[in-house]
Subunit: 139 residues, 2 copies
DNA sequence: CTGTATCCGTGCAGATACTG
DNA sequence: CAGTATCTGCACGGATACAG
């Protein structure tokens, strides 16, 4: 394993002395960002609503994720205590994934983000179109 | 400009026919993910609470962002209609950034995410420690 | 079925230098 | 001050092959 094992992406240490509003808060935000912003974690959490899903079910449903990335993502989420991984000692192997109580609380927050996106995607699309056309005129 | 101009990261097209729960929704989620998950956008939006900030002020406050990334991030947010950019024709130049009404609504949602992080960071840290120690034993 | 191991290409971010 | 332009590296993700 390569990046999955790395403890932190080696951000600058959280200095305690800055007065900026952020520095301490920054560390928190970066941590969550590096978790949910890694392109797949949010999807997985959103998908694991209150269900129990198997590895293959997740892979089929997410559509576009590679086996490797799903494994890495699930390991990270498991390490963070957001997802519980249950291995059934049967053959063929069966592994179930579900949200932990902590994961559920994050799911709620994430759901708000997803809802926001659905609600405002048209406005964003419009804004982009406007920006791009104006940009074209300037050029 | 390189990646700033790219319309979309060329995800697989949003097929309408899939029954997966996601595929349509996926597109929305991916879009917002690619926006807020790019490590800096969320920070900028959180920082721009209800203030007007200059380029340098943002750069100083965010602490760790490069000039280039701040520029790229701000352009993306402007394009998405989340941030308004105001250039004052003075010398030396002065450029103000502030959230648009749309940006404010996203800010609220993001704030919930930041709050979640602050509230649960200890639990995550504990979970990680547990996971790592157990991992060490197994090995 | 559920992974791990390895190789490999690319895209994103940092550093630096330059400009209006 | 507020950017652009360019080079560069390496971390990340995909593909593939293999294993328990």
């Amino acid at each position: 394993m390569e990046e999955g094992t790395s403890k932190e992406p080696s951000h600058s240490e959280c200095t305690e002395d800055a007065f900026q509003w952020d520095t301490r808060e920054d560390c928190d935000v970066r941590q969550i960002l590096d978790r949910i912003g890694d392109k797949w974690s949010l999807l997985v959490i959103a998908l694991l609503d209150n269900r129990v899903l198997r590895f293959t079910e997740l892979k089929k449903t997410i559509d576009g994720i590679s086996q490797r990335m799903l494994t890495v993502t699930l390991r990270q989420l498991e390490r963070d205590g957001l997802v519980r991984r249950t291995v059934h000692p049967v053959v063929p192997p069966r592994v179930d994934y579900e949200l932990t109580p902590l994961g559920v609380t994050l799911h709620d927050t994430i759901q708000a983000l997803v809802s926001w996106t659905e609600k405002h995607q048209n406005e964003i699309a419009t804004a982009r179109a406007t920006y791009d056309s104006r940009d074209a005129v300037v050029r």
